[in-house]
């Protein structure tokens, strides 16, 4: 059996786990063995359906009141509980901080070999051969593991998550693990909201950016208004954040956020390379600038040559009109 430990936070799935499933499915097929996911905590039930869409036929669900939040050793002990019952060839996790932490605990508790950040896995009866990342990804290492069960984490962001829907329903095998007295030595003791709720720059489908041309913090009011109308987020170029017109966390560019909206409206931004790096993922760029020679005008899909202090309010009016 191949076990895939699925990372989630109170039912919110970590995408790296879906990428890991691509490897897990291939391994199970290759070894002609079964694939099962391991979900920890009652809230894991919420993602069982998603797992079905990614070709996982069986999900072990560890339930216990104490498993509401992540606790590395408790997760490891839950995995060991399944490993005790089944003949497990490989345990996989996403190559994230938590994935590594859990696998390290399993490795240490059961004295099993672990390879982190794998890209490719080849398994036969004798050994497990992996290609894995080292030195932050600048080096690939060929490694070989020997043991009864192999623990592998899969490097994130490199293997695409592929949907392969099951024919039937996912079979849920619920169990209550018994924990050692050390299982909750490390646990979540509190949660703090990072920022006030709102659409983050990196996720927004519309981003309004302001640069030198905005002229000051008060100039951003119009941009905020437009963003509200379009359910978008507001960011700034380096000039805007360096001058204190926008907080540094709103910077778009080489240093700062890399955005990928459907529409990026760049207002009074010249388009220095530092900035363009941050918005090269935008599907459409609308540039508003008084200088037709500004580099951004060349990169933009739509261009308004004009003063943003007139153009932006005009757009705001127009959007309001149409929304009515």
């Amino acid at each position: 059996m191949i076990i895939a430990i699925i990372e989630h936070d109170r039912g919110t799935l970590h995408n790296a786990s879906l990428e890991m499933l691509t490897v897990a499915r291939a391994l199970a097929a290759d070894r002609d063995t079964s694939l099962a996911a391991l979900l920890i905590g009652e809230s894991g039930r919420e993602i069982v359906k998603t797992l079905g869409a990614y070709g996982v036929p069986v999900a072990y669900l560890a339930v216990d009141d104490s498993l509401e939040d992540y606790a590395p050793r408790a997760w490891a002990e839950s995995a060991l509980a399944v490993m005790d019952q089944e003949n497990v060839e490989v345990v996989l996790a996403a190559g994230t901080d938590r994935g590594h932490e859990v696998l390290a605990h399993v490795a240490s508790l059961a004295d099993l070999p672990l390879a982190a950040n794998c890209l490719e896995v080849k398994l036969d009866d004798e050994r497990c051969r992996v290609t894995r990342q080292r030195w932050g990804g600048s080096l690939l290492e060929e490694a070989e593991l020997r043991g009864e069960t192999y623990l592998l984490s899969i490097a994130p962001h490199l293997i695409p998550a592929e949907e392969t829907p099951l024919d039937g329903e996912v079979e849920i095998r619920e169990f209550q693990p018994s924990f050692s007295d050390r299982a909750f030595r490390v646990q979540v003791t509190g949660r703090e909201q990072d920022e006030k709720a709102g659409i983050s720059l990196t996720d927004a489908r519309v981003v309004i950016g302001g640069g030198r041309g905005v002229g000051g913090a008060e100039g951003f009011t119009a941009l905020e208004e437009l963003a509200d109308l379009l359910d978008g987020a507001v960011g700034g170029s380096r000039v805007a954040t360096n001058n204190g017109w926008r907080p540094h966390k709103d910077q778009i560019g080489q240093t700062g956020n890399r955005i990928a909206p459907d529409l990026y409206i760049a207002c009074g931004i010249s388009g220095a390379i530092q900035h363009m790096v941050g918005c090269q993922g935008a599907k459409n760029i609308l540039a508003i600038n008084t200088d037709p020679q500004a580099p951004i005008m060349e990169k933009a899909d739509y261009v308004v040559v004009g003063d943003l202090h007139e153009v932006v309010p005009a757009i705001v009016d127009e959007v309001k009109q149409r929304k009515r």
């Binding site: 600048s138 240093t255 010249s270 390379i273 060349e298």
Partner: protein, 667 residues
């Protein structure tokens, strides 16, 4: 002069002092030898001459802070002379009736020298006493918030006081001794100053004068015995460590050349995490450092208000060694990692690698090298770096440019030009290979510079070609950020491409490309004849192939790029180009040429931000504004990017352009 009892006492004390000092000096050398690598003992005669010249002439001290340095020179020259004086006094003390160098002209001149230099040393040391303790000179302070060894602030003051008192008493006693002798034995025209003081003792009897002479001897020479064991723990050691430093420096092709790392595949650790893993010369640096903080004064990162001070780096190294010298000498590991005791990680990343600290250091220290070595550890072993940096590194590795643009877009800049730009893949050979560089290829602003250079080459009829889509990052930013793997992979890839075409000269549109090709590819067997575009264009103007005609009617100040200027000492070519343009008045900023201030973009600085109070490019533009120019000219794409991205609070009007652009405009 000395009695038998005194002689026995002096010899006994000398033995004790010698043995005690020996232990200290031995520990010091053992600590230094814990370091990695070896000292460079090549070309010893030449370097010995250089070390002697630098020490005697005080050249490296006098080239900054002239006033203070002159006082330093007085003390230094006196101290050097005092090697002779002390030897002479010792012999005279032990050999009854002996007169060192005789009573003739030679002896007279010797005594005149001692007389004048004693006074000089006293004046000099008095100045330093007042400077440190009365004026509390700001130049010697290190800003709060910068990591400084807990003992350093007090320790430096105490150490300075001990050294100053030692010199004062040692030289003062010797001077008084000379005056007692004159009072006892009659006037000596060769010692006018001691003679004048001797007038004060005219009334004293021979017994009292003899006692005075003995007391002076003991103070002057006895103090040396007392001070000697303290020497290895004092910054005053610089007077010995600095010449040794000059003598054993690694030969570098540029001020900031980096050592090629042996990247053993199975190594678990790259770069130094602890003191004893630094290179030997870098450990010696800390003993040579006199803590004058000149490096801090010229450091752009310090001026910008980051937490980096190269002075604090050297001082911390020294105090870390000092508090665990015995343990380190005995082979124990140092107690804390460098990033906790010497330089915090954020400070390591704040350096722009401008090498101003190396250029200014009077004792030949290279704080830049410590920083670069520490980066290697952080990047390669800890994989610890700001996200912006790891993005940059990944882009260099995967897409061959620091921003992650598509390799297919590398030649987009050629599309707007009237004439086609020849590409090596088709042409196979050319006189000149124009290495455009990533900035010049992708950055919309710098593409304009590349187009100017291309137009100028075409106008001058140069047989040239570009690599086009075969060009990719040469690895310099990766290397400077500590990613030696990426760098060496880039070298390998580029070496192969470069070897497949025929050309005589490479010209680069970027000082960073220029520097790495000229000085650092050679370690990997790639020998290129490289010129920076300013050098090549200056040649074309010089031999009449380019004739700037159009009057630009502008006042221009030229900003030196660190990698063209300080690293490669090319200060004149860009200025010659500007002076050759009709209607251009070139004005110099206060900090120019070897003392030019960095734009903040080097060493990967253009790719990430560190917490700071004031933008470095803004500081530089304000300085430029001071000479009231129409244009700030530069010859480096990173400088231009930094300037164009500056806040421009006060400097909104000044234009920033590349010299190639200006030359192109005047055609």
């Amino acid at each position: 002069m000395l009695t038998l009892t005194e002689k026995i006492l002096f010899v006994s004390l000398a033995l004790i002092s010698g043995a005690w000092s020996f232990v200290g000096f031995q520990r010091m050398t053992e600590v230094i030898h814990r370091g990695e690598g070896e000292f460079n003992f090549g070309q010893l005669p030449r370097k010995a001459f250089e070390a002697l010249f630098k020490t005697l002439s005080q050249k490296t001290v006098l080239n900054a802070r002239l006033g203070t340095s002159l006082f330093h020179a007085l003390v230094a020259w006196a101290f050097l002379y005092y090697f002779l004086v002390n030897a002479g006094d010792l012999l005279e003390g032990f050999l009854p009736g002996f007169r060192f160098l005789g009573t003739g002209l030679v002896g007279g001149l010797y005594r005149l020298g001692a007389d004048l230099l004693s006074a000089a040393a006293l004046v000099g040391v008095l100045y330093f006493l007042l400077r440190r303790f009365l004026a509390d000179a700001p130049a010697l302070q290190i800003r709060e918030g910068i990591l400084l060894h807990p003992q350093a602030r007090k320790g430096m003051r105490r150490d300075s006081l001990i050294v100053i008192l030692f010199i004062f008493l040692h030289v003062g006693a010797r001077f008084l001794g000379a005056s007692f002798r004159i009072a006892a034995e009659g006037p000596d025209p060769w010692q006018p100053l001691a003679g004048a003081v001797a007038g004060l003792w005219a009334e004293a009897g021979p017994g009292a004068l003899a006692v005075g002479e003995h007391a002076a001897f003991w103070l002057a020479l006895g103090l040396i015995l007392a001070f000697l064991p303290y020497f290895p723990y004092s910054k005053h050691l610089h007077l010995m460590a600095a010449p040794v430093n000059f003598l054993t420096r690694p030969e570098r092709r540029s001020l900031g050349e980096m050592r090629a790392m042996e990247l053993e595949f199975n190594a678990e650790k790259f770069g130094p995490s602890h003191l004893e893993e630094l290179e030997k010369p870098l450990l010696l640096d800390s003993f040579a450092c006199i803590m004058c903080s000149r490096c801090q004064q010229v450091c752009p990162a310090y001026e910008a208000g980051t937490i980096l001070s190269p002075a604090a780096l050297e001082i911390n190294k020294r105090y870390e060694i000092k508090v665990q010298m015995k343990a380190l000498a005995e082979g124990e590991p140092s107690r804390t990692p460098l990033t906790e005791s010497v330089l915090l990680e954020e400070a390591v990343r704040a350096c722009t690698t401008c090498a101003a600290c190396v250029e200014i250091c009077p004792v030949g220290n290279e704080p830049l090298q410590d920083i670069l070595e520490m980066r290697r550890y952080l990047t390669l072993t800890e994989v610890s770096m700001p996200t912006d940096q790891s993005n940059t590194l990944r882009s260099i590795e995967r897409r061959g440019n620091p921003w992650g643009f598509s390799p297919a877009d590398r030649t987009r800049w050629t599309e707007d030009l009237d004439q086609p730009v020849p590409v090596m893949a088709e042409k196979k050979s050319a006189d000149v290979l124009f290495w455009v560089g990533c900035s010049g290829s992708y950055d919309p602003r710098n593409q304009k510079i590349t187009q100017s250079i291309t137009r100028l080459l075409q106008r001058a009829g140069v047989d040239f070609a570009i690599l086009g889509q075969e060009e990719s990052c040469n690895g310099d930013p990766a290397r400077r950020m500590g990613e030696e793997f990426s760098f060496q992979m880039a070298v390998e890839a580029n070496a192969e491409i470069l070897a497949s075409y025929e050309f005589e000269t490479v010209i680069t549109g970027c000082p960073h490309c220029f520097n790495v090709f000229k000085n650092e590819y050679a370690d990997f067997g790639v020998d290129l004849k490289v010129l920076h575009h300013s050098q090549y264009l200056a040649q074309l103007v010089d031999n009449g192939k380019l004739k700037p005609r159009k009057d630009l009617n502008q006042i221009i100040t030229y900003h030196d790029s660190c990698y063209l200027g300080r690293y490669n000492e090319e200060y004149d070519a860009p200025r010659e180009i500007l002076r050759g343009i009709p209607g251009v008045e070139v004005r110099e900023m206060p900090r120019s040429r070897a003392r030019g201030l960095c734009c903040g973009g080097g060493g990967g600085g253009v790719f990430y931000d560190v917490p700071h109070e004031k933008d470095i490019p803004e500081i530089r533009l304000e300085e430029a504004e001071g000479v009231d120019p129409d244009v700030v000219a530069s010859a480096c794409p990173f400088c231009l990017t930094m300037f164009e991205g500056a806040e421009r609070k006060e400097t909104a009007d000044v234009l920033t352009k590349d010299i190639a652009e200006l030359l192109d405009e005047s055609m």
